[in-house]
Symmetry: C2
Subunit: 362 residues, 2 copies
């Protein structure tokens, strides 16, 4: 694999130009680019600009509305439902999180369910918006059905990520941002490209047998929930995924379970939808709604120090604080740039050519 390294500014300009070409208002194009760039900066390469052509394909199929009327359609002082009007999730989600944050400023907490949206990028972006206001940030979304619940031989749930983020003091925020499947689809794709087997417990084949073939998903197999099998708690991964699905889609009026619209444009959404678009769920709670913010941060710093200095099985592997590797990636990539693999560079240049805009800098 060969890499091409771009500066953050180069990729940001390019990404904005794509969203502008789709007809997004300038502010939306900037915001959507910011969400994708944050993912690349943080080392989550699967969810960054590599996904750009996927969003464009959905727009071409008129499944993404570049000029949506995103609005609150139902609310109480601390809860709301947002209709994303088929907009980019990358734009709809920050709108919804802002609503949650504004409510939290006044009442201590804010909770927003979203329907009629699309893929929202990394969950961590939205949760971090709350952290910057000294709030606990919560963010989740349902997604294309790829995961079979325990005992099932059908894809009924997405990899449905949940994210909880907490502001620390002298350390980076603690950010738990995780798919509720044993392994996210991006990890399978890496194994596919490398032509290597995956560990047992990630996928099952068409007949529901466990398999180490990373291509099973293309051949009618399913991803497995976190826990992999019943003995190891796959019913818990299924339960978490169900929780994300119900909060994001049943609460908001989006499509849930197997009706969740696929991200890939070559798969059509269900013919008999049970709601509108994809669903998300966001929460923001003021830390000082519970105790003085500085006290919380001091204790979270202490928590972090205790876990970082834990006795480990191997001397050379320390306990990792959730969010710290991504924070370090961001520090590094702000300076040295963002490496993209060859196939992504080619894909983005082809995308630009098709849209009649300038490609990536050579």
């Amino acid at each position: 694999m060969t890499f091409h390294t771009f500066t953050e500014a180069q990729l940001r300009n390019f990404t904005e130009s794509v969203f502008l070409r789709m007809g997004c208002p300038e502010q939306d194009a900037q915001l959507a680019a910011d969400v994708l760039l944050k993912s690349d900066l943080r080392g989550i390469d699967s969810h960054g600009v590599a996904r750009l052509s996927g969003y464009v394909r959905l727009w071409k199929k008129e499944r993404i509305n570049a000029t949506p009327n995103v609005r609150v359609i139902h609310e109480t002082p601390t809860t709301a439902t947002v209709d994303g009007d088929r907009g980019l999730g990358l734009v709809v989600a920050p709108f919804a999180m802002k609503v949650a944050i504004e409510k939290a400023k006044v009442y201590g907490s804010g909770w927003v369910a979203v329907k009629n949206s699309n893929h929202f990028g990394i969950a961590g972006y939205h949760a971090l918006m709350a952290v910057e206001q000294d709030m606990v940030g919560i963010s989740m979304t349902n997604a294309s059905p790829l995961v079979a619940p325990t005992y099932a031989n059908e894809r009924l749930l997405g990899t449905n990520p949940m994210c909880y983020a907490f502001p620390a003091g002298k350390y980076p925020p603690v950010i738990v941002d995780m798919a509720t499947a044993a392994a996210a689809n991006g990890k399978l794709e890496i194994a596919q490209r490398a032509n290597q087997p995956v560990p047992e417990g990630w996928v099952q084949d068409l007949n529901g047998n466990t398999s180490t073939n990373p291509n099973q998903l293309k051949e009618g197999g399913s991803l497995l929930p976190l826990g992999s099998d019943k003995d190891h708690g796959s019913h818990k991964g299924y339960g978490l995924s169900a929780t994300v699905d119900i909060l994001s889609a049943v609460l908001s009026g989006a499509n849930y379970g197997p009706w969740a619209p696929p991200f890939v444009a070559f798969l059509e959404p269900a013919a008999n939808p049970v709601g509108e678009g994809l669903g998300h769920f966001f929460g923001a709670m003021r830390v000082d709604g519970f105790r003085p913010a500085q006290e919380f941060k001091d204790h979270l710093d202490n928590w972090i120090e205790r876990f970082k200095s834990a006795k480990t099985v191997d001397e050379d592997k320390k306990v990792i604080i959730p969010g710290e590797p991504e924070y370090n990636f961001e520090l590094e990539r702000k300076v040295i740039g963002i490496p993209l693999i060859d196939v992504v560079v080619k894909d983005l240049n082809a995308l630009a050519e098709g849209l009649g805009i300038a490609g990536l800098p050579a």
Copy 2:
């Protein structure tokens, strides 16, 4: 193993008499008994009256205060922190959930962190209090350190359960109530009693090697997080457990991580506590804060029906709706009674004798 079956009323009377003997006010004794009985009725035998003598031992060591002044010590319209005053978690937790529910009635949602508490029984009891008000109920607690985070060779976290509960229409509520470890301690205890090996991925030994010996925990080993190992996502189980710990204890001012006080009375709490007692976290959100409650319930019913009728790998194993097996247990045990194993019956009668009260009916 021989069983002795008691009616709900028999066990309830006995349990209340124990709490009264400890000096709990009548209302508290009734409530604490109700929490334990709910666990036995729902088939979660590990968390019911089998734990009664554990609570009494903590009381004898003056680590449980039978007449606490449980109170809100910090609040905003939708958030609060409760000081449990070393009371029974079985009493403190319902108090805190009531605060959350009252806030939700007025503002749409309510969120309560608790410090200075003790073991609160099953998480599902408290979450169900919200469900009965047509609210989403959330309930979690930190617990005695037994779990080693990914790469660690130290017990830094409890089995820290999280529970999400949702009201359905014609079906029982969906209740996801799960330890964030690969297997809860109760499952190890069953294997110990039966003298049988456990699956790999539940525990590691003193040196951090995976083991199938259910006694490892007594010999310096640790439980493993949900996901079991890094390849299968144990960092996710660790992240979830950390989330529960931070929300329950860092946010409230309780002891977190390895400082969480042990439930067993023969282990002393940490000499250098970082907070007060054990911590919990509760949430309640009015369903009609997002969409009309009946609409939500109709769609959740549809969700349930779709998952129940899913194609399965084995014809005789259907997809299980979270909370349904426990609901069915409760229907059954309300009628046929609650079976206790011999060793639990003996333990409860010895407890009664020590306290100078009547034992279980013969």
